[in-house]
Assembly symmetry: C2
Homo-oligomer: 362 residues x 2
């Protein structure tokens, strides 16, 4: 795998493998937590702006001032408490570089977003992964001790479990001199955001994305919220990497999307209602369903291996996410689609799973 022209450490990287994006074949796609509803029409209308050719001819605003102002207004923070990036993955990468390159290890749960160890390898950061409890909740006491910082998604992925804000505060108090990053990619589906704590905790960084709740995974917009000294740290890294990470289309469309509060409330409510209904139906199909505050559920079939159910669903033209990893290899992560898509999923499961009372493939 090594190559004489590569930097010596390059062969040691373990790149992230994203969920499959099937080309061509028409599948019901419940594998990457995309929003099932189209983005705000108010936002899409910006694409027809007659000034767009001129905006594209010129360099975009390197500071994304209007977009940051729209995000600040939406989140109830000051514009100087907002940093935007090319998807929350870029924001995360800059956060790892800016805050976690230290002697001590970074702490994150053993079951979590699998990009975190990839960033650690990229930047030579040591890490420790305290185990979630058996029910996939976080035990904050496991996060005491010397650390470069803490990062965790809340709700966690791929579990869907949420950590209450008073527990987030305990984490912040355990590491007053280190950044605690709360990755809120899924916060708009019923959770309480830690953004409300920013003014009280100089070590709190909240990271969010327009990919899930705003149905704009294809636009690549993520952001971080924190006190201005943390935002300034991210800007130092960003301005040493790419001055203009957000293109003019994304700045305009993103600002309009985040301003459309009615769209967000309506679609999030629909996703949450479908989630409740699907969780109940899966339970009736004898799945163990992990309580979720995200736009997916992690669920364990009982009569059949998760991998076999994954394969069976694929044969029915339905794609869900299967992780061949310790502790979750008997679970499937199922994104919440439209009601019609979820009905198709449930119908397929009824065909795939063994009839009640029988047991196979265990």
């Amino acid at each position: 795998m090594t190559n004489p022209f590569w930097s010596p450490a390059l062969a040691d990287l373990q790149p992230y493998v994203p969920g499959e994006q099937p080309r061509g074949r028409k599948l019901i796609k419940l594998n990457t937590n995309e929003n099932p509803y189209p983005p705000s029409e108010h936002a899409m209308a910006t694409l027809a702006s007659p000034t767009l050719p001129e905006a594209l001819r010129r360099y975009p605003d390197p500071e994304s001032v209007e977009l940051c102002a729209a995000i600040a207004s939406h989140c109830g923070v000051k514009p100087e408490q907002v940093f935007v990036g090319n998807g929350s993955d870029e924001v995360l990468a800059h956060a790892f570089y800016s805050f976690f390159r230290r002697e001590e290890p970074l702490l994150f749960p053993d079951i979590t977003y699998s990009f975190y160890p990839v960033y650690c390898n990229l930047y030579g950061i040591d890490y420790c992964t305290p185990a979630l409890r058996e029910d996939f909740t976080v035990d904050v006491d496991d996060y005491a001790g010397p650390a470069a910082g803490v990062i965790l998604p809340n709700p966690n992925a791929p579990t869907g479990r949420i950590l209450p804000l008073d527990e987030i505060e305990r984490l912040l108090q355990l590491h007053p001199a280190r950044v605690v990053a709360v990755d809120e990619a899924y916060i708009d589906f019923g959770g309480d955001s830690a953004a409300a704590l920013i003014d009280r905790y100089p070590n709190l960084l909240v990271i969010r994305t327009l990919s899930k709740s705003h149905a704009l995974a294809g636009l690549r917009l993520g952001y971080a919220l924190g006190q201005s000294h943390l935002i300034e740290g991210l800007q130092r890294t960003k301005n040493s990497f790419n001055s203009y990470p957000i293109d003019s289309v994304a700045q305009q469309l993103g600002a309009a999307a985040i301003t459309d509060e009615a769209w967000l409330e309506e679609t999030s409510d629909k996703v949450m209602a479908t989630r409740s209904r699907v969780a109940e139906a899966l339970h009736e199909l004898d799945f163990e369903v992990v309580p979720s505050m995200a736009n997916f559920v992690l669920a364990r079939p009982r009569g059949m291996s998760a991998e076999a159910v994954y394969g069976g669903l694929r044969e029915h033209g339905i794609l869900v996410r299967y992780f061949n990893k310790p502790r979750i290899s008997e679970y499937l992560r199922i994104s919440i689609g439209t009601d019609e898509e979820m009905d198709a999923l449930l119908d397929a499961l009824r065909e795939i799973l063994p009839a009640p009372g029988t047991s196979q493939n265990r």
Copy 2:
């Protein structure tokens, strides 16, 4: 400047400072080498695609397969010899990480794109900067000796000077076990591309952008061309940083833009014709004009300091680039605008500069 929450090395970064993007005030903007003509209408038409809301709802193609195919066809290489990034600045950052983190210093000219030392600081890369000759040409003999690699823009910026392909080949032969990166941001304005050498040199990486010649600075698209083992190295880094760097709009619009060969030929011809005329007019105004193969000229006023001319132009509502740096502090870098914009520049210079035979402010 240091901060207890930042990674210890963060305060040592020296972030890049991009050219000014004036907000609000209407200026003739000749300071950041944007194309004066609007982007291809064929490309802009992709924004009206009825499938765009669905494309934005989903994650984009992480590999940008169609965009890479369009670039390969345009450049006469194979699709597996193409890597795309969020502007050529991101491509450059990944190239520095992927190829230049070695014991020896990276080599680049003393007068060149000022982001190169910034990347070196970001990734802890040592560097040496051989001086350009007095006429701002590169002396390839200065690039012998142990090195992590070589990078230079061709044409160089901010000089506009081009290094002939046989000299590029000498550089490639001096460092057969190291990557030589040729940054061709300005190659479409009359230069010969090193892309023709890729199949013969496993150490050649060519980097380009749609920002200048395709009038899409606001879209943020850059790419690298090289043998597939170099492209694979860049992909390893990219997939450890951000799986989806190119949004769906940029993938579609960029592919259409790069396919519109007639647009490129017509607008590049216009820019080159204007460049010839402006160089001659500046010469008549007693400027020393560095021969340029880019969409800008570097020129030295003789009767007045460059900084004073910069200030005078600004008072006339015309923005050019002034670098307060060794060896070029008596020069101005002037982007090639439309004929009307350049006429306004020349008229303003006639008012600002002292009458022939007099001398002031030297």
